[in-house]
Symmetry: C2
Subunit: 182 residues, 2 copies
């Protein structure tokens, strides 16, 4: 529900109906809507989202691991029986001050993602695959931007082939991006 409607758009009444419980049970188990949301996000990060970032952990070259991450993200934006796009990108964007905590929580998760991309780039520098002196923050920001954009693109109705092509296109500039010019 949070994934499809967002934090503010998913009401307690809808949540309890889907969960098959009454609201007092929900509050006894989770404490508040905000806590329930955070647990849902944590579950998402531990399951669906882990596949994408897991591509950064293997024995692939730096370039191939980034490419694989983009490709996996493109696919996971259009899984059957799930809302389009990544939960972390679209789970809480709109809303008044009462949604600030949820928005900040997702923002932190997105920054974790960028940090892990940056860590993979650092490993590439340490392995000698990438030259020293690169501005790794900016390179990581570029790939994070593409990933974020793909979620909106998926919500707008892009098909799997288009998203896969976007992932490939984002890699075409790899050699120039990873040259020492920033």
């Amino acid at each position: 529900m949070f994934w499809a409607r967002g934090y503010a758009g998913a009401s307690i009444a809808e949540l309890t109906e889907v969960m098959g419980i009454n609201s007092p049970s929900l509050y006894a188990a989770f404490g508040s809507k905000e806590e329930l949301f955070k647990e849902a996000v944590a579950l998402y990060v531990a399951t669906d989202d882990s596949c994408t970032l897991q591509m950064l952990e293997g024995d692939l070259t730096t370039r191939d691991s980034i490419a694989a991450m983009l490709a996996v993200n493109a696919r996971s934006c259009l899984l059957p029986d799930r809302p389009s796009g990544c939960f972390l990108m679209i789970g809480a964007t709109n809303g008044g001050p009462e949604t600030d905590a949820a928005q900040q929580y997702l923002c932190d998760k997105r920054k974790d993602m960028a940090a892990r991309i940056r860590a993979r780039l650092e490993r590439g520098v340490a392995d000698g695959e990438l030259p020293a002196g690169l501005n790794l923050d900016r390179i990581a920001a570029y790939f994070a931007t593409v990933i974020k954009g793909m979620s909106i693109e998926a919500r707008d109705g892009a098909d799997a082939e288009t998203l896969a092509a976007v992932a490939r296109s984002a890699m075409f500039g790899w050699d120039a991006i990873t040259s020492t010019q920033g």
Copy 2:
């Protein structure tokens, strides 16, 4: 208000307070919250957003016009006294069924943007700058994805230099993207 909080997050009470009127005046002038939102979006498209797509209309080469569009978009995501990011990307993403019309309206505007990028690419083919046989839809989807991602990146706190670097990075693969391989 819609830009900062989104369609569902901006209440009539907040809107009327900012506008300095009472709700009956708002309904007499615009008819409904949805109509007011559409007028606000139309105003945004005609003013702030026009600067970005205007880069596609000049005498620049296809490559330079796309690069200029990305650069202008990067700057307009972080204007002072305005919410971060593009209104079309973040104005209505969350919410229940009653926000579907607003979401669809913004989605159509985003597709207009992609269509204009595609039209610029077509002009490039007609001018002989780009080879024939390219899958222009996918190329346009790539640049649209980068633009969409930059808005989330801006909301997440990226500074102007980072966004400008992202815009440059997105252009590094231009030659490969515009080769006849799709």
